[in-house]
């Protein structure tokens, strides 16, 4: 490793060659403002807010893009730098729709912060905001408001680099330059997975999730409606960030209380249907294995791939429409929940399903689209009436005027409120795989998976693709055909990595039996609907919290969840049975690639 020495604001520092000035400054806690920079993405160097002065150079340098050089003498806060930054922020403001008070990102906007920091005078320059820009609200999931766009291209890079979708692109030049969808089509007509990663990386209010919380308030206020809310595993480890907690704080109990105080009639847990997914999906996997290994059935597709991430599902529908047979037919936990809320739950509680409003609180933008898919009405009604993001939910808690930090901890209601640690870890990449293995291994061998504390660490972590294999030994008699089989599994997160997995499958070269794929980097804890900002450090803390939550659960295998046993006994009959088929499984649709 070659190192170089340079000076930043008078401090001498030694860094590895190739380190940018920005990174070097960070090491000595000198904060340089940025806008287009995002650590998940490649360097753009286009906003120019991060400029610094290098002594003996006339021009300033963009610290995010310029590598530190031996002997550089850098000033990050000289008069020259401050004046230039102020000009640049003023220019961005002059191009911006500055109606901050009515903006969804008000108080959580990077441009607003910088304008305040540099005390920008809004009258310094003339407004060059383009008149008559309309907001694209065509998508179920994402809204695009060009009047708020600062052209940093974070969204473009996100969609291209992390997701390999390329729904967004920089279009036109000069004063007409803008971020456009492919061919400038409405958002709902382009190939977009609705993952919302672009939304999560937008520094301003140009890209936001489509909001549905007003409808939810309305339902809560309607005495004739029975509102059931379910919250996804990853919401409880991120929601706190909206409400004054340190990143990585678990707020499960307070979250439950908050919902109750908001007037929600029944506070339930998506983790319950996560456990249910494991039972259905695990049985589906074992059935496929049986048909392939024992019966030699060539029509059965392996590897089987998880289907709980709706961004991933839409991705494969667009990009690999001829390989949909690999997807598990299981609905996502959200949609299983919706279908059961208006059947099983309604029946048990004696409530007319037409009066039930089911609301899902999700880390996700794609869940909104998923809830609106036409086929998601197997209960006879719209299974999920509204899907909200963690951010929308945090806002509702603020609107309700709750003193969140001082709420007591309470537990979810029953039925459909009980869950295991296996359900919880759905929120992190590798979690579905781990949960499935815990149960499948136990079903097949009657023993626990051979990992300390049930923690299947090989499938955990942050690598984009992780593979593991587990040798199945000591099978129970009915699973004898699996004796000695080396079960190959893989986990991928981020659609860029999903594509690698799918290319392998399409080429007939996949060696796996079972694959978990999540659209978002880090899985749901890094979902498009999670609090902003989200970055590697934040994802790591949320992940840690997820595994802590798992360890804290008395039951940590889905099949041991008593409410799961109950629902099969009292309602579903058996996994993959007739009712399951009607309510818990779905089909997919081939979509165009462009």
């Amino acid at each position: 490793m070659t190192t170089i020495k340079l000076k930043i604001d008078g401090h001498t520092i030694e860094v590895e060659k190739g380190t940018t000035i920005l990174e070097a400054a960070k090491k000595i806690n000198v904060k340089i403002p940025t806008l287009c920079h995002h650590e998940d993405l490649c360097v753009a160097g286009n906003c120019r807010v991060c400029v610094v002065e290098v002594k003996n150079r006339h021009r300033l340098e963009a610290s995010c893009a310029v590598p530190a050089e031996e002997g550089m003498d850098i000033l990050t806060n000289s008069a020259k730098v401050r004046n230039a930054r102020k000009d640049i922020v003023s220019l961005l403001v002059s191009e911006h729709n500055t109606q901050c008070t009515t903006c969804y990102r008000n108080t959580n906007c990077e441009l607003q912060d910088l304008a305040a920091e540099y005390n920008v005078d809004g009258n310094r320059f003339l407004s060059v905001l383009k008149p008559n820009l309309s907001i694209d609200k065509s998508s179920w999931s994402i809204e695009k408001d060009d009047s708020k766009c600062i052209r940093c291209q974070r969204c473009v890079r996100t969609c291209a680099e992390l997701q390999h979708v390329n729904a967004l692109t920089a279009a036109n030049k000069g004063h007409e330059m803008k971020i456009a969808t492919f061919m400038d089509l409405p958002f709902n007509e382009v190939v977009c997975t609705n993952c919302g990663q672009c939304v999560n990386r937008c520094p301003t209010g140009a890209l936001t999730e489509r909001r549905y919380f007003d409808q939810v308030w309305e339902a809560i206020g309607d005495p004739n409606k029975h509102v059931v809310m379910n919250t996804a595993p990853s919401v409880r480890v991120a929601l706190g960030e909206m409400l004054g907690y340190e990143v990585g704080t678990r707020v499960t109990g307070k979250m439950v209380t908050a919902m109750r105080k908001m007037g929600v009639d029944s506070v339930l847990d998506t983790d319950f249907t996560a456990d249910l997914t494991i039972i259905e999906e695990g049985n589906e996997l074992l059935t496929r294995l049986k048909k392939v290994v024992k019966d030699g059935d060539k029509s059965i597709k392996l590897p089987m791939i998880t289907s709980c991430s709706p961004g991933w599902v839409k991705f494969i529908e667009h990009m690999f429409p001829n390989h949909l047979g690999h997807l598990s037919t299981c609905k996502s936990p959200q949609q299983m929940f919706g279908a059961l809320a208006k059947t099983y739950y309604a029946e048990k509680k004696g409530i007319d399903p037409k009066d039930i409003v089911s609301v899902a609180i999700m880390p996700c933008a794609a869940k909104k689209y998923e809830a609106n898919r036409p086929e998601m009405n197997s209960s006879g009604y719209r299974d999920i009436d509204a899907g909200l993001t963690t951010r929308e939910f945090g806002l509702m808690i603020k609107q309700a005027g709750l003193d969140f930090k001082n709420l007591e901890d309470t537990a979810f209601d029953s039925i459909m409120g009980e869950s295991t640690g296996a359900g919880v870890i759905f929120g992190a990449t590798g979690g579905v795989m781990e949960a499935a293995l815990r149960t499948a291994y136990a079903v097949v061998t009657g023993r626990k998976v051979p990992f300390e504390n049930l923690n299947i660490t090989p499938v955990r972590g942050t690598d984009g693709i992780r593979a593991a294999s587990i040798k199945i030994e000591g099978c129970l008699p009915e699973w004898n055909f699996l004796e000695g089989v080396e079960l190959n599994v893989a986990v991928a997160h981020g659609l860029k990595n999903a594509r690698v997995i799918m290319d392998e499958i399409a080429a007939g070269k996949s060696k796996y039996h079972f694959i978990e794929i999540m659209a978002c980097p880090g899985g749901c804890i890094g979902g498009g609907g999670q609090p902003i900002p989200t970055n590697a450090e934040i994802r790591a803390k949320r992940t840690k919290a997820i595994y802590e939550e798992d360890m804290g659960k008395p039951i940590r295998m889905s099949h041991e969840n008593p409410e799961i046993t109950q629902i099969y006994e009292e309602f579903l009959g058996e996994p993959l049975g007739h009712k399951s088929h009607d309510l818990l499984h779905t089909h997919y649709q081939k979509r165009h690639r462009h």
């Binding site: 360097v43 753009a44 160097g45 286009n46 906003c47 120019r48 807010v49 400029v51 006339h58 021009r59 300033l60 963009a62 893009a65 310029v66 590598p67 020259k80 004046n83 230039a84 000009d87 640049i88 220019l91 961005l92 002059s94 191009e95 310094r124 320059f125 003339l126 060059v128 600062i150 052209r151 291209q153 692109t169 920089a170 036109n172 030049k173 000069g174 004063h175 007409e176 330059m177």
Partner: protein
């Protein structure tokens, strides 16, 4: 130090040598390092605008340890009022290809491209004929170097070398961050030499006449001769080869119409020199020499001239970086607002300051150079901006 008078030169359009690519053949008998040193010695600077010493650039490319290197001839010539590169490609393409081939010989590049401005695509058949002759000659001489033509995307900014490379890679024509420079990390991430059409033609001429003879032209500061695309209020519009180091007064005497009030040197990215500075200014010293030379007589409104420039910039900025994308719009709207009385005359000073910020913060030469014409026109013709 200025020449005493303006000297026309006739090097670059001189007739070809008898046998095709004879200069290339002869140069290939020389040591590579000798060729590079001769170029450095000649004092030739890039003719595309930035004025980087050509010999050094070649030396750097030659030093790069990569088996894959590229040579690109920049024929994007997107600036209004310039047409010298076109003339070279029409009249003496062989000199341009010779220059590229010599560069390939000394640097070890095997593939070359002529990045041709879209509007020039009607030249392609003719250029391909010349390339046939080139390929045959190269084969005969044992030089492993192929040149093909790449038809440009049509945007002015694609003439900027890194935007040009992006556009060749099929991406949007946006300038890249520098470093890394194309010499280290250019086309397809490989070491790449980008030179202007005239630069390549000049290198082949230097190889023919020798550095000494070339260096004898011009001043201590600027060696050799150069093509000027002259336009505007001139009875002698067109491309002229002139010795470097001339005084503007001499230039105006030769090319003006007797009523010249200002000369724009170095095209839209350059400076506007008012009459009162004609005696004391030397072309190429403290101002840039790429691009067009425009002559304005007293009937011209300098407000209109500046307005046209700003219109051009606001449209031709690639739009990626803030100071350039928004700054150009602000300058344009700003002078309109002063003219119409919506902003006080003192606002012009705010705008000049803004243009200085653009100079030190923009990502590429386009945004960085707007201040040249902007400040020089406003400072010298302030009245015309206000009334």
């Amino acid at each position: 130090m200025a020449n005493n008078q303006l000297k026309r030169v006739d090097i670059i359009f001189s007739p070809y040598s008898v046998a095709p690519y004879e200069i290339l053949r002869l140069t290939m008998h020389k040591e590579k390092s000798d060729v590079i040193n001769e170029l450095i010695e000649s004092g030739l600077r890039g003719r595309g605008g930035a004025g980087f010493p050509t010999g050094l650039k070649w030396k750097y490319l030659a030093a790069e340890q990569d088996s894959e290197k590229y040579i690109i001839c920049n024929a994007d010539e997107g600036e209004p009022g310039t047409f010298k590169d076109r003339k070279l490609l029409v009249e003496v393409p062989r000199k341009v290809f010779s220059g590229m081939a010599i560069a390939a010989y000394v640097t070890g590049a095997k593939i070359g491209f002529l990045y041709l401005r879209r509007e020039y695509r009607n030249l392609i058949p003719q250029l391909n004929k010349e390339l046939d002759i080139f390929n045959e000659s190269a084969k005969k001489f044992g030089l492993d170097f192929k040149i093909s033509i790449f038809s440009g995307s049509g945007a002015y900014v694609c003439g900027e070398e890194t935007a040009l490379i992006e556009s060749m890679e099929g991406k949007r024509g946006e300038p890249r961050n520098k470093p890394p420079f194309p010499i280290q990390n250019g086309y397809l991430g490989k070491p790449t030499l980008v030179n202007n059409v005239e630069t390549f033609a000049s290198t082949s001429m230097i190889c023919r006449i020798g550095a000494d003879k070339y260096k004898a032209l011009g001043t201590d500061d600027q060696h050799g001769s150069k093509l000027f695309s002259i336009s505007g209020d001139s009875p002698k519009e067109g491309v002229h080869e002139l010795e470097l180091g001339m005084k503007i007064s001499d230039f105006v005497e030769e090319f003006g119409d007797g009523d010249t009030k200002a000369v724009q040197i170095g095209g839209v990215a350059g400076f506007c020199i008012p009459r009162k500075q004609f005696e004391t200014s030397i072309i190429g010293e403290g101002n840039t020499t790429g691009g067009a030379t425009m002559i304005f007589n007293s009937t011209r409104s300098m407000y209109n001239v500046l307005h046209n420039y700003l219109d051009f910039f606001a449209e031709e900025s690639c739009g990626q970086c803030t100071p350039c994308r928004v700054g150009t719009q602000q300058l344009l709207k700003g002078i309109e607002a002063v003219k119409s009385g919506k902003k006080p005359a003192s606002y012009l000073d705010d705008l000049i300051k803004l243009s200085k910020t653009m100079q030190i913060t923009s990502k590429c030469g386009l945004g960085q150079s707007v201040t040249n014409s902007f400040a020089s026109i406003i400072e010298n013709f302030r009245e015309e901006m206000i009334y």
